[in-house]
Amino acid sequence: MIKHLLGRIISMLVTLVLTSVVVFIIIQLPPGDYAERYAYKLEEAGTAVSAADRQALRAYFGIDRPLHEQYITWFTNIILHGDFGVSFEYRRPVMDVIGERLGLTTILVFITLILTYGLAIPLGIYSAIKQYSVADYFFSVVAYLGLAIPNFLLALVLLYINVTYLGASVGGLFSAEFVRAPWSVARFMDLLAHLWVPAIILGLAGTGLQMRTMRALMLDEQNKLYVIAARARGLSEQKLILKYPARVSINPIISTIGWELSRVISGAPFVSVVLALPDTGPLYLDALLDQDMYLAGSMLFLMTALTLIGTLISDLLLAMLDPRIRGGSRH
């Protein structure tokens, strides 16, 4: 077991290094660089930027050196000092910038996950037991609607309703005056008033998919022989369902739950842009679009790391929950 774990960790590290290289190259692939983007913004603002100015900007941002040199400096600094570099856009250390938004992102992801799985698992089980009932169809339609309506559009419509009919302040998680205020009852209420829109949208989107998976897996399991045998033994239906097929069906969901970990870094890029959520989503999207190299690179690096760690955690969880896997057969 320990040997297996060690092997996993080593292969994880190799993957991590490899992806960090690939990611660094990918960010560079589109034409232009941050200096170009910045020059463009300045010109949009009416400031003339000459070719020499561009070169100066490049030197100023430290991107006039060859790519491999930039990569090696960046990567060794991460390994040796835990220093992820400085964001061009914010002119502050990357970890500062991400850190500022990490707390709220975690809260959002947590709420979303609770909503998603809290709804998806019971509804999926229920739908499977009552296959082809009106309730089955009803829940399926609702869940699939969440999947089907483009998030960013739904977000905009809900915001519009929120503004026009409820007169609430728009976007973000706080009204402008509360953004920097210390925690208070009023600030908390303000947070609640803003939170419901993203919670619904982010929660709804995942629910459809998970519920569908749960339903399918339940249907697979519930007619298997061991279930019929259990039923023959006279177990109560409720106990039977929860103890046998539900427990087995939950495995694949657990095997992917670890991937959700990386959402703490990626946030929900599209929805968050529309809603101006102060989570890491817009940060991630803008960093990519603007080629804010170290910020984008570091976020991608962290996401990869968290995905790998998440998978590992998932596998360990699975081993804990499922005696068959615990037994040491191949995953």
Binding site: L18, I27, R212, K224
Partner: protein, 381 residues
């Protein structure tokens, strides 16, 4: 109320059930699947919806009253026109008609408003001559399914340039659906192949493919998409670029399917009936296709039907950040993008009509997927 009605409808549909019982034991596997599929009523509805969308996509030129670029100068950003059968005098017309629309611009807000001129009745006709077109480049004509003898009818309204939204959505159907199909098929074939090899061969082959899969998996798709869309040849039209990216994403999107296929094969390999087949001297190919594949078909179908809507939604999402299809190409995502603003939501909600089609398509795919899964499940009765 609506739910009650729906339940009634399902009751009626259940009528088919009887004769199945007699032929059950001599039916082929696909017959069995079809019978089971029919039990899932939403899936059947979904299948019909997909069928309709398919026909719309194929016959787009004929069914739509205009071409997607025809501009109707007299009906700019006009609301959907309603069909009427009864005129102001209370006379019933056999042929549905629309009223002539008269537009005025609000002098203060500059918003266009249209009023129906109840005096001017224009009947809607079938098989009318309209904009000339070439159907799939083979058949040149100007006959459209419906339209007006003179002028244009806009059932879903028009956009800022006076282009018929109904027409544009139907043309968009063709592009959005076909792009989904290409991407999904590609990743499906690849996933099946690589997963199959990995799972069946095992050993170092398995190990190699697994590491490769993990590596591909760990590359986030968003930056990849950005990089690719920027580095394709510039002579390529927007559609070609998008197709290329779909193909590339298809090439990258097989990982989860491959993993699933592999783990299924791994566990099935040890099953008694596979062992039996092997002892009986079946070839590897036959064991995989005839014995193992049917038993995990349901999972593959779920993957595929989830992937379709994902492709469609990905297209809309990428159009949203300006990386997907772009005008003048007409796709659902492109159309939706022009409705993705406060102006459309508050003043011209018909610009959001593409969302109905997107939702329909995604729902249909999802339910068909559910139905197929239920049908393919070897344990259910």
């Amino acid at each position: 109320m609506a739910i009650q009605k729906l339940a009634n409808l399902f009751q009626r549909l259940k009528g088919h059930k009887k004769q199945e019982e007699n032929t059950y034991f001599v039916a082929t596997q696909f017959q069995l699947m079809w019978w089971k599929f029919r039990k899932h009523h939403m899936a059947v509805i979904g299948m019909s919806v997909l069928g309709i969308l398919l026909v719309l996509g194929i016959l787009a030129e004929f069914i739509s009253p205009n071409t997607p670029f025809t501009r109707d100068n007299k009906y700019i950003i006009g609301p959907p026109q309603l069909l009427h059968w009864i005129d102001p005098q209370g006379k019933i017309h056999l042929r549905p008609f629309v009223y002539q629309a008269v537009g005025t611009r609000n002098p203060v807000t500059f918003r266009m408003t249209y009023k129906e001129d109840r005096e001017k009745i224009i009947p809607v006709q079938f098989f009318v001559h309209g904009d000339p077109y070439e159907w799939w480049g083979i058949w040149k004509t100007d006959i459209h399914l419906f339209g007006l003898a003179e002028g244009n009818v806009h059932f879903l309204g028009t956009d800022e340039l006076g282009r018929d939204l109904f027409t544009r959505i139907i043309y968009g159907t063709r592009i959005s659906l076909s792009i989904g199909v290409i991407g999904v098929l590609l990743s499906f074939v690849l996933g099946l192949l690589l997963g199959g090899i990995s799972g069946y061969a095992g050993g170092w082959v398995d190990n190699l493919i697994q590491r490769f899969t993990e590596f591909i998996r760990s590359i986030p798709s968003l930056p990849l998409w950005m990089a690719l869309s920027a580095s394709l040849p510039k002579e390529w039209s927007g559609l070609q670029v998008y197709l290329a990216i779909t193909v590339i994403l298809g090439f990258l999107g097989w990982t989860s399917l491959a993993r699933r296929v592999r783990s299924m094969l791994l566990s099935l390999r040890e099953e008694d009936y596979v062992m039996a087949a092997r002892i009986a001297g079946c070839s590897d190919g036959r064991i995989i296709t005839r014995h193992m594949l049917p038993s995990f078909l349901s999972y593959l179908i779920i993957d595929i039907t989830v992937a379709f809507p994902n492709m469609i939604l990905a297209e809309t999402a990428l159009s949203f950040i300006g990386l997907g299809l772009r005008p003048p190409i007409v796709s659902w995502g492109v159309l939706l993008q022009s409705g993705q603003n406060i102006r459309a939501i508050s003043m011209t909600p018909w610009l959001l009509a593409p969302v109905i089609f997107i939702v329909l398509a995604v729902l249909a795919f999802s339910f068909v997927g559910d139905g197929l899964r239920d049908a393919a499940d070897p344990y259910s009765r």
